[in-house]
Subunit: 324 residues, 2 copies
């Protein structure tokens, strides 16, 4: 079967939602979009390649979900309201069943957050998904990496390390990424790897509360290191404060679990800094969103990132994907 | 050598120009951009894959140029002012020389039009380049495919068919895409394939003059067919009016040259429709831009596209890339 560029993109485009701010969607040379007045445009682009960013046997619906999730996570980390995206999909062959399953996962996440697909193309090649996601934030209110201040608390959402744990289990042959696990802990870890939840509501709630923010894609210490580096400060994490889920501890033991949480990537939780005066407000956000927010450290004068009480000391090296 | 995602994208990002409308560029989770008031955002995304969209031996500088050119051409076809782009680059290995040469071509074109790179990533994988280009147009002034009217003239810029001719010559072993040809005609054709010029100034000049427009990426008849289809009209092309360059006629003879011009893709000229009252104004645009604009047909009531005086009759089938 030959890959029909026109038929494929139309098949995907037909499933996108409409939005009132789209003057012209897929079908012309480009899309025409209406940004609300007073807003800055927020743009991010990320690619997933088969065998590099996800196991080759990953289900197409999970690939569709995750390719969009990693981009929406970047918008979340800016405190942006998501709106539109483009999709560049390279496929070895035009398999309608694969496309429909991919679109199932992609639009499950897109529709949950009201995102519309406004452009892109399908080309023949090894499986690769490049997405550019767009949204907006009121001018001056974005959560930037360079805004951490000495004296800030360091916070993280959710339970980092679970996606990395699932990946390790898959590499050891102990987890089938294509099927729900019977064991509840294993299934929780698998879901975290295959269907990460971009923290968009949290990003919006952090506007005006947090100073700096980043999403945890490379690893907690690595991404916090980016904040420290761009802000010209040092981040000190207290190892015993890092939240380790029961599923993670039961699967790996406390020490290895902490290593996953500090250095594992692909969780797409948010790591952020905020003044101590915001603690009550942040606890209220956690309660409202039913999402744990945990204080794990402080920002001090200096540079770099370190973790107290971690057996691996200063090794903050980031995640380089599983074949890296 | 391992591919270092961080080092590579920084190496490329360091070469981008600054723009006053970029509040935050590469280095954070996402870019922050300021759209001028009263403008609609114009967004397009296109991918080039090695061996599908360009010969595998193509020079990296030509790949960098062309990957951006095909996207800027879509902005041109909307009458948009180009501004920013993201770049998703998949590479088999991190070769600094290759990256620098790619960037040479990419930024030669970007700088010529004042475009800034504001995001993207580099990943390991078979060579693939996905770009999302952004710009703007005053609300209501975009050149859309669905705006052709019965009675319009059909126009095309430049000399279509030359890129397809170069591709045929390469396929027959008669053209080295990596080196300047000694023969002047051959070199002209080679340049048209390897370094297409997006018609951005023409797109801007056509605002208020043209009704519908599209860029010629799939082939003149195919792209004109998109205009006809979306506008609910028929386009009739007069074969003898289609401008054939001397280089194209000398290389292929008149009949084959016309076939290249009608059905060859990858030229990135603009095809557009305009009321007959605009002829003088359009001739003035052609003169000002030193770019030929030729009336090649008319829009009538009906549907589809046909070419009078073409030996291949109604076959309007588009370009499907050289391995298609």
């Amino acid at each position: 079967m030959s890959l029909d560029e026109f038929g494929l993109i139309e098949r995907i485009a037909a499933r996108t939602r409409a939005r009132a701010d789209i003057a012209l969607g897929i079908g012309d040379d480009a899309a025409l979009l209406q940004l609300p007045p007073g807003q800055q445009l927020v743009v991010t682009a990320d690619t997933l390649n088969a065998g590099v960013h996800f196991p080759p046997e990953t289900l197409p619906a999970d690939i569709g979900w995750k390719a969009l999730a990693v981009n929406l996570s970047d918008l979340a980390a800016m405190g942006a309201q998501p709106a539109w995206c483009t999709l560049a999909l390279s496929l070895p062959e035009a398999d309608p069943d694969w496309i429909e399953a991919f679109a199932d996962g992609f639009f499950a996440l897109a529709d949950a957050h009201g995102i519309a697909l406004i452009g892109g193309d399908t080309t023949r090649g090894p499986l690769s998904i490049s997405i550019t996601a767009m949204g907006w934030v009121p001018a001056g209110q974005a959560l930037r990496r360079d805004a951490a201040r000495v004296g800030d608390d360091v916070w993280v959402s959710g339970h980092p390390g679970e996606a990395a744990a699932a990946l390790q289990l898959w590499q050891q042959g102990g987890l089938d990424v294509r099927a729900a696990a019977v064991d509840g802990d294993l299934e929780r870890l698998r879901q975290r790897l295959q269907r990460p939840a971009p923290r968009l509501q949290l990003g919006l709630a952090l506007r005006g509360l947090a100073h700096a923010a980043a999403d945890v894609s490379d690893g907690l210490l690595a991404d916090l290191g980016h904040i420290a580096s761009r802000s010209g400060v040092e981040a000190v994490v207290k190892g015993e404060a890092v939240p380790l889920s029961s599923a993670l501890r039961r699967a790996f033991g406390a020490a290895a679990a902490l290593d996953c949480a500090l250095r594992g990537g692909d969780d797409y939780e948010l790591c952020f800094t905020a003044a101590p005066e915001q603690r009550l407000a942040l606890e209220a956000v956690a309660s409202r969103l039913a999402l744990p927010l945990t204080r794990i450290g402080v920002i001090v004068a200096g540079q770099g990132v370190r973790c107290e009480g971690d057996a691996n000391g200063a090794r903050a090296s980031g995640y380089r994907h599983f074949t890296g």
